[in-house]
């Protein structure tokens, strides 16, 4: 089969490799119909996130058709349309039981490796024709008739990531919510903040086109090079500050600044991927009783909540798809996405 294979930064190659087989009675084999490139794939692409090895298939956002399941699998069967969580949990360890599959003791081998598809040879990724899914009953979800493959693709990672952030932020009816970033994750955060009852969502970004899109969703917008962010937030919130700030860009300085924009009792939630340390202005935390939360996504917890919102038509994440191409053109897709050309938001690859 064909797959996008990691050989180093800026060196991804479309290659032919053997199809995976069932290895355990709890495995499933999925034939991929749609896969997409995630912002965190770019960290592999540009070397920001160093990989310890090479030669594995990349990609952790993919959906398809179940081809085969092990004898112990009860929730899906051959022929089912299915989506797969990007983080792989055994479903039974103490962490998975608490909804923290991203920290699964079994699949991270006690914390010694990543348990996300497509970051090592332990769990080859889904920018490929066929993928083996360990612990299928924990990590695979059937796609209902009313939901398209492209919509379901967003449930594998970034829609749950956005939902996690609004949950971390405890977005509640009537809230004023600030969202840093209007990229794919930021846009979904904005939509989910409204779904959770936010009265006002304030989107901050440097890209005018993305700000225009946020306004179409009903957001107030701020361009930080053209306006004073603090002044505008205080003006919109009647001098009170926001109930929460959600960081959906991935920059430490935005986390540091967020405390300024909050009302007493406010919350900062980080959806962006940040590895560096954060310099936290604790005096503001002390005086205003603030909270800060972040982490990796666990789609296993979020899919059951988000699927009905797509099914009922309240939420259509597939509107973020700007480009579609065959898997054979994946390398061009990476370049397009890395360079943010053509107003790209989300590139779907079809094997």
């Amino acid at each position: 089969m064909q797959a996008v294979i990691f050989h180093g930064p800026h060196d991804f190659r479309l290659e032919s490799i053997n199809e995976p087989k069932l290895e355990s009675p709890s495995d499933a084999i999925l034939r991929v119909t749609h896969t997409t490139i995630c912002g965190s794939d770019l960290h592999l692409w540009d070397g920001g996130l160093p990989a310890a090895e090479q030669g594995f298939a990349v990609g952790h956002e993919f959906v398809g058709i179940i081809e085969q399941v092990g004898e112990a699998v009860t929730t899906v069967g051959p022929g089912d349309r299915a989506l797969v969580s990007c983080t792989i949990g055994c479903g039974s360890c103490s962490r998975c039981r608490r909804g923290l599959h991203s920290g699964c003791s079994v699949t991270t081998a006690g914390g010694t490796r990543s348990n996300i598809f497509g970051f090592s040879s332990a769990f080859p990724g889904g920018q490929a024709e066929v993928v083996r899914i360990p612990f299928a009953d924990s990590n695979v979800f059937q796609i209902p008739d009313g939901v398209s493959d492209e919509q379901a693709l967003f449930l594998t990672d970034i829609l749950p990531t956005a939902n996690m952030a609004t949950e971390f932020a405890e977005v509640a009816p009537g809230d004023h919510v600030v969202v840093f970033g209007c990229g794919p994750v930021g846009s979904l955060v904005q939509q989910l903040a409204f779904i959770r009852g936010a009265a006002v969502v304030i989107a901050v970004d440097l890209d005018e086109a993305r700000l225009a899109h946020a306004r179409q969703l009903g957001c107030e917008t701020i361009h930080p090079e053209k306006e004073n962010v603090l002044e505008r937030i205080l003006q919109i919130t009647d001098g009170e500050g926001a109930a929460s700030v959600i960081e959906a860009v991935g920059r430490t300085e935005l986390v540091s600044q967020a405390a300024l924009y909050l009302r007493p009792g406010g919350v900062i939630a980080v959806a962006g991927v940040i590895i560096a340390n954060v310099d936290l202005p604790w005096a503001l935390f002390l005086m205003k009783n603030l909270s800060l939360r972040g982490g990796l996504v666990n789609p296993q917890r979020h899919v059951p909540q988000l699927m009905p919102l797509i099914e009922s038509g309240r939420l259509d994440p597939a509107q973020l798809v700007t480009h579609r191409m065959p898997l054979s053109e994946a390398i061009a897709g990476y370049e397009l996405f890395a360079e943010r050309r053509d107003g790209v938001l989300k590139v779907v690859l079809e094997p």
Copy 2:
């Protein structure tokens, strides 16, 4: 001044009485601009709720302009547009501190009297030109510029009641929510269920016009004399049952039935006013791990959450106003409302 005075069932009279005066440094005097008739006023009107005395002004939903405040009042001043909570709390007793102003130890005189405006001479009501508001800092809220008097009128009782019910029901993103009743409270419950993220709201009523209105809000609808309620709910929820059922009619048998329609872990919330005992099918509670909640509203807790939703335009309760008339025609207003003529939903009276 003129006021609607209670003399017995079907015997409300427009009479001239003395204007109230400040009695305590924590009082405020409000000149009423808009007041409305509530479903619970009808219980006085039709005798369903017996009053121990007569001669008091009725009405507990009213807004206006502050005319005077006592020396201890800090949150409003003369000239402010203001709304008043229907239940009166001292704001300082252990119950008010827990957000249960409806059970205020001080204003209920230790549980020996009602602390709602317009049900006794202890707290004369707001279908009048002027009202004295005890504990103004606890019970009065300024109306912001972007909110009309008519919109604010809904914050005195029924919008908080609807919000309390969705809170009791723990409505969460992705939920399927059943709402019994499409009257004023039911309609607001439906809108707030969507604001809290419900994927699907299923409205049940016997009135086709009201069901049509619910469909305009985006609800699925069921007419229980034309369709089998259980079958339809199971069909809409894929056989699973609803996450919550909200009773917004006020009939014991609907509370009894609700358990049938719920999925495991479901919740029944009662917004309707019910005095009689409820016959509860406990076997369903046992097998499905259900919860049941009800109570009187505490607008004091809900106004800060709901006001920004009106201000931002996400919610416009004033769309439920079907009739407007001067206070001098209040008796005709009662008759219209009691007989449900002319598609009446909400009658606004203007002194």
Copy 3:
């Protein structure tokens, strides 16, 4: 092997049957070391709970040693000391994912049968030498070194049941909590209420010896035939009423009465097994904003929370064991337990 076999009310027989075998890669085979008789076993014994068939092994509270596991099992292996949840969940369906294994779509076969061990031939019980455990990764927990088999026995059902009730009741630091019943479940509820921070636990029972035991745990006690329950509760709570009432007897009239004893905002939680309808004084729910909750236990959710409390010595449920006998004397054990002889609280049977 030997097992206690159901043939009808008052007709349980110790018989020899074949040992169960692995049937699925997710099964485990457990050799029972300790099992006990539960109050709900008595419902089978006395006919209160009719069984549709006969010939199956009874018993749903048991621990032992894992003898064999299917190829898909990851959390336990041969030789492990292990306890088993009384309700059996697949661990992967939408209900199990929400922590409601008692309503598991798979093991209840879509709601058409009980998924508790020992109530039908679908899931033969643990008053036997060997038991087959379906979906072992979901339903089996290793017993740590510091916890005895007898202590672990309580984690299979009644300690989680008691914990569920205190969770339903939202017991919080500083609360006054009323517990109806001082039997095994009631006593554990009392201990867990203190562990959750209750300031005062008020135990109500008709049995003086059991009340004395509650006093040893630090409870206030009320004998309802000797004292007026309402008066005493109001006296202890300074006229306010309790924050919660937990029913641990299983009588509908106690649920009906509970609303009387609550302060505004209070909660009724039902731990007892009740099948009949409950007559609910809704006027009290309306005036006091009350909640009511009940259901079947899901030890899968509670074991991870309760195990450390036993391990650290804060909680020792094995103190409730009053009688120990070999499995061969099980029938005598049933008679003793059914007749409440010799101050019996919990009878442990050892195969």
Copy 4:
């Protein structure tokens, strides 16, 4: 009257000043019976916290007898034994309504001044014979008969602070909780962690006498200069890490380290007073899904929960009182406390 007057770092003087009078109908006048020196008073004493003026009475932890109340006060009257919250809230602004009296818009004059007693001439403190209490209904609580003045003294600040920290940390039954610091606040945090159901509390301190006291309370203890903190925590928690870490010392580096000691999903709560920035290892927050919270205390929210725990005897904070002296010896008290002589934990001053 006599009072301890601030003239600069290390320059507190016992002076005679005029007694305060009622200034508003919502004021109360309290005659102090017991007051105590808080760790944050030491920040004034040693200059760590610069004051903008001088000549005001210090002290924010005090109890006494109500001498006089304004006409609007309903919750206390002359002759009542009463305690006073250290932070002063109006009780009616949007922040006080959310339980954040420490951020009260009115008493902080829109965020331009401290609203704690004893830090400026705006709110003269309680190391004095008489104090004026603004907004008495919001800030004063009656002391029940079963609670001593010394016990009540802890409800004015540090017991609520400790409770806030355990609430921030979401301490739940079965948790392993790490507490940095065994001073007065740390010791109360340890006790409250047990009251909230912690299975194991791990106390960390450099003072052997304080560690011995923690062991008497049932804690595991670690001396960081004699043992490796991380290794010991992993050993005690079976390699999993703690559910929460509570900082009760006031050092930024402890907040930075805390993430290391947590299990996935863990929480860091800061009870200590920290003004400097915190360097946060975000990679750990990302990989382990952590939360961080801090802030100023609002005794108004905590007293109703804590009082019954003292009343029922579950908690006796007065055991932390090591020294008692007349107010006239206050300066000697400060020196003793600042130098940590004689095993001092808490010094009570009696006017």
